[in-house]
Symmetry: C2
Subunit: 131 residues, 2 copies
Amino acid sequence: MNIGQAAKASGVTAKMIRYYETIGLITPADRTESNYRVYGTDDVHTLRFIKRARTLGFSMDETSALLGLWQDKSRASADVKRIATDHITELEHKITELQEMADTLKHLVHCCSGDDRPNCPILTQLAGADT
Amino acid sequence: MNIGQAAKASGVTAKMIRYYETIGLITPADRTESNYRVYGTDDVHTLRFIKRARTLGFSMDETSALLGLWQDKSRASADVKRIATDHITELEHKITELQEMADTLKHLVHCCSGDDRPNCPILTQLAGADT
DNA sequence: CTTGACCTTACCATGATGGGAAGCCTTAGC
DNA sequence: GCTAAGGCTTCCCATCATGGTAAGGTCAAG
């Protein structure tokens, strides 16, 4: 299978497959005589694994760790669970931050008449006034 | 006032003040004979405005637009309000995405025994199995 | 006059991805 | 067998906002 077919089969772009190879996330693919990368079904499974981890927001480092544990048949599930719970903590931290931004803005938007006059509490707040 | 003092007074690093100047977000500062940038209280107010907008998650483009409206005394508050509501929509979209990731992971973590045995539903899910 | 703290510009790095160019290879149609 | 289209290769650049560092000029206090 060529890189394009592996990309279609896995949902990872050819560009990213090459990138994953250069950073050592996946082992370098075998090559044909004409230097084309060759992939098998196992490789596609690995790429799908990576794709799912990324979709769940795991960083490349976390994904790499998860991949290693996946391939280590004698792993302890506690190690996997720790990575996942740490990631949940990160996600919830980000959610809280974004939620605070949104709440502040919603309050300001609620106070803004939004007409053709210049008076605007949103700008007043950004300017740092007490009002 | 030198750039370092302006940085302290505004909460924006000297590095970022220079960057904002190069991308045209702020007008180039006057210089002393020895080529040092000089800032006044108005400049510090502008930098604080930018800092607050960034803290609320506005992009540089949005911040630039807000800055322009702030400085335009004949603005319509509707223009400000539109930028803010659009940004709230973006924020809520991101929150939803992150929340979905966290929810999925929480479910998986709940199902994982997290001991020294290898069996792990988190990896099983990432591998794409039906279970 | 020296020392240390500050300023200047210029370049590199981040993280994960996309885009494009230049050149080689393969496959399908004629 | 020839040609055109499309796929593959590597290499370089861009994103977005920020931080770091290095080499060199400037200023103020002792």
